[in-house]
């Protein structure tokens, strides 16, 4: 096992999949000689050439729309959107086309593709380099939405995403690209199935549901409050869509209290779906209100440091929310 960071895990996954299947290719802005602005595609251009590592025009609709066409033809595109904030020009292609292709053709056509995008705040990126966009897509039948929280999962899930016959939205917590490190098997190939959430910390007192960077923070907060005697179960949702309702409800059955954490705006955010799931099918297990801790309802993370701090959910805020709910 070697310890690598999140972005390296992602790079390795792409590299291995490109090596395994010559239909896999990468398309995006600056993914070629530059190796991606976050360096996720470093080395791929040299290894696979400009035909399989394509510097697209500066147009996200092109990246995704052309990717869909290539997928219909039989290729396996990995589309990189430079920042999740810039995915909206491709929204129509993703929602109207990629997501609905299987259904509308009664299964005749597939769109096996991955759309990768770094998301999330806390990196001084201001309103347009910090957004969380998962809620827009975790509502669209036909898509799968995956958010890894650590290198091991990132690599295994991305490899599964590339092999998946459906369009997979793969959102990467960019703040964790270099910050989050973890062990990844060196010689042994592995994948992680898209779908199941994972209990990453067992506990009795309450359940925290999170993903991406917030899952990383949730584990930290859980350690903090453990010293105070609060025994937290942490669930890494990993696949946001389709939702793994069973794992969520099972955890609530055990702890009777639920806190959902995300950095996206509270209202209309993904947490609503988890809360609703619990309020509907886990109601009889509940001992307390279902709590959500999320970004405030302002457009996005502001640039100036104090404002960014005000916006961002962090381990302290999570620990506070845990204490609050535990005390209920």
């Amino acid at each position: 096992m070697a310890e690598i960071n999140l972005v390296e895990a992602i790079r390795q996954a792409m590299d291995e999949e490109m090596e395994r299947d010559e239909n896999v290719f990468v398309i995006g802005e600056d993914v070629g000689v530059r190796g991606g602005v976050f360096r996720a595609t470093v080395g791929l251009f040299d290894k696979y050439g400009e035909e399989r590592v394509i510097d697209s025009p500066l147009a996200e609709l092109t990246i995704v729309g052309v990717g869909i066409g290539a997928a219909l033809y039989g290729k396996r595109p990995i589309c990189e959107i430079q920042f999740a904030d810039f995915i909206y020009p491709a929204f129509n292609q993703i929602v109207s086309e990629a997501a609905k292709m299987v259904y509308r053709s009664d299964g005749a056509w597939f769109v096996p593709m991955v759309i990768r995008a770094p998301y999330g705040g806390g990196i001084g990126g201001g309103l347009y380099h910090s957004q969380s966009v998962e809620a827009f897509f975790a509502h669209v039948p036909g898509l799968k939405v995956v958010i890894p929280s650590n290198p091991y999962d990132a690599k295994g899930l991305l490899k599964s995403a590339v092999r998946d016959p459906n369009p997979v939205m793969f959102f990467e917590p960019k703040k964790g690209y270099r910050l989050i490190k973890g062990e990844v098997p060196e010689d042994e190939e592995y994948t992680i199935p898209i779908g199941p959430a994972k209990v990453t910390r067992e506990g009795r007192d309450l359940s925290v549901f999170a993903y991406g960077m917030m899952h990383h923070y949730a584990l930290q907060a859980a350690e903090t409050v453990a010293e105070e005697g609060i025994d937290v179960e942490v669930v890494d949702l990993r696949t946001l869509y389709p939702v793994d309702r069973e794992t969520i409800l099972e955890s609530v059955r055990k702890t009777s209290k639920a806190l959902i954490v995300h950095e996206d705006n509270l209202t209309g955010g993904y947490g609503g779906e988890i809360a609703a799931t619990i309020a509907e099918w886990g109601f009889m297990d509940l001992d307390a209100p279902v709590r959500r801790l999320a970004g405030p309802d302002v457009p996005a993370v502001p640039f100036s440091h104090p404002m960014q701090e005000w916006f961002m959910v962090n381990p302290d805020k999570i620990a506070d929310a845990i204490r609050d709910l535990a005390a209920f």
């Binding site: 292609q93 009664d106 016959p165």
Partner: protein, 327 residues
């Protein structure tokens, strides 16, 4: 390559069959038997001329909703179309999930079409990219209305194909209206073909009412594309002889005189005249063909009427590829 006489007659037959089928759809709508029809009447020459310039089974077609004649030329049967008109289970394009005329024929490389205009154009470029990656010599033909070329989606698709010299023919079927909106409110150029100069690829104009002229123009572009010389934009100009769809009332935005004037350029009449002039068709043969077309359409409607509706719960799947079961 000049067309054989047999092929010319075949092309005429396809146009005629598509026309009779299309007319019948309007009748079915007036009779209250179908909810919706969107028509290709007036555009058959462009559609059939174009499809005969590509190689069926090898090349790709990424069509739009008016391309009934194109699909007939590609092998869709009238009864398959009627299934979709009626929303019957055997509809092969979508299992009756989509509205009629949202075509798809995977076995013939005809890609599934949706309703938001221009979304198909980038797909054509992506297919072209795949072909190029594999070093293949197939080409992609994709169609669109002139109104829809106002979408950034079309611009981006053509731009990508131009930058990468992809084997794609972007055929614009300019029928002069986008529902009620005339061309001059869509663009400040005279023709969608003129848009090509801003994108760095050839732009060709052709009379879209004349099937053999369209064939020649598309063929040239197809051969270029096949030889690695890249994409072409072609505008075929014609006139939408019917309202936009069965939901439309075109009297609110154009005069009857205007429509009547264009009926003189009906592509079926022009093709018929051309064949008669060339001695390839007689009035009698035409009447026979016409009767045959009507008979086939009758058969198709009969088959459609007899076919079952899908069950409601059939709509639950397939949302994901792994739910697909064609067993």
């Amino acid at each position: 390559m000049t067309l054989s006489n047999a092929l010319k007659k075949e092309m005429f037959w396809v146009m005629l069959l598509a026309r009779r089928l299309d007319e019948r759809a309007w009748v079915l709508h007036r009779q209250g038997k179908i909810a919706f029809h969107i028509s290709g009447i007036g555009q058959e020459a462009a559609q059939v001329g174009a499809v005969y310039a590509i190689k069926k089974g090898k090349d790709w077609l990424v069509p739009y909703y008016r391309d009934l004649a194109m699909l007939i030329a590609m092998g869709m049967t009238p009864s398959e179309f009627v299934m979709s008109l009626l929303g019957k289970a055997p509809d092969p394009t979508s299992g009756a999930r989509q509205m009629p005329s949202h075509f798809s024929m995977r076995h013939a490389n005809v890609v599934s079409h949706s309703a938001p205009v221009a979304t198909q154009s980038p797909h054509a470029s992506g297919i072209g990219l795949g072909i190029k990656m594999d070093g293949g010599d197939a080409v992609v033909l994709t169609t669109i209305g002139e109104g829809a070329t106002s979408q950034g989606e079309w611009y981006e698709a053509v731009n990508f194909a131009a930058v990468h010299k992809l084997p794609v023919i972007f055929l614009v079927e300019n029928n002069q209206y986008a529902i009620s909106v005339p061309q001059e409110k869509q663009m400040a150029v005279n023709s969608a073909a003129d848009k090509a100069c801003g994108l760095g690829l050839p732009g060709i104009k052709v009379d879209g009412t004349r099937v053999f002229e369209v064939y020649e123009a598309i063929l040239e572009a197809v051969e270029k594309a096949r030889n690695g010389e890249g994409a072409t934009v072609i505008e075929a100009k014609m006139y939408r002889l019917t309202p936009h769809s069965s939901d439309d009332d075109d009297r609110s935005y154009r005069t009857r005189e205007e429509v009547e004037k264009h009926k003189k350029q009906d592509p079926i009449i022009l093709a018929k005249e051309a064949l008669i002039d060339e001695g390839l068709l007689t009035e009698e043969e035409y009447e026979e063909l016409d009767q045959k077309a009507k008979d086939e359409v009758d058969e198709a409607v009969k088959a459609g009427n007899e076919a079952p509706y899908p069950k409601g719960e059939d709509a639950a799947t397939p949302v994901y590829a792994e739910e697909v079961n064609h067993g």
